[in-house]
């Protein structure tokens, strides 16, 4: 497994020991991770599109810069709920959120 993918999985709350560990992930787990990753990616591109810094976005979202950073990294401490609400607050339509799935 490459380092980038490993880091993403670990950020998502999985312990990755060796290559074969990847096989331990069920389809559900992989789908869940992918949904979060996609939502976080969507959030970041939406923020950048609006030329906002994380600090500015945090103000709009009524949270802190550090949490915005974690949202964009799909950190394990971030829920799908938070990502969905943050995307909506930055102007995403439900229609656009479909693409995350």
């Amino acid at each position: 497994m490459n380092t980038t993918k490993r880091k993403k999985l670990e950020a998502a709350g999985f312990t990755v020991g060796g290559t074969q560990d990847f096989l331990g992930l069920t389809d559900e787990e992989m789908a869940y991770i992918e949904i979060k990753r996609s939502l976080s990616e969507s959030l970041q591109s939406r923020r950048k599109q609006q030329k906002l810094t994380q600090v500015q976005a945090a103000k709009i979202l009524r949270t802190s810069q550090s949490r915005v950073a974690k949202m964009e990294k799909a950190d394990k401490s971030v829920s799908i709920d938070l990502l969905v609400r943050a995307n909506l607050a930055l102007g995403a339509t439900p229609r656009e959120l479909k693409h995350a799935f």
Copy 2:
């Protein structure tokens, strides 16, 4: 507002006093509620399609019957995360989940 809609909103965590209170909901709030409602509906129809009782579904989902009931009611104590994971565990594909948005 009709009683059915009122009950759904209250279950979703909103206090509904009179008709005009509905206007207090932002687009984001309404979109968020609708997503949850749609995911819960999807979960229930998926369970019924498989001829499962809530008790049986609870076993598959490794939770309790009462929580399954709450998921299907889009109770305020239920997160989108839980609904997404439950749908996936009952065989939904990410593609199918798109329809909830």
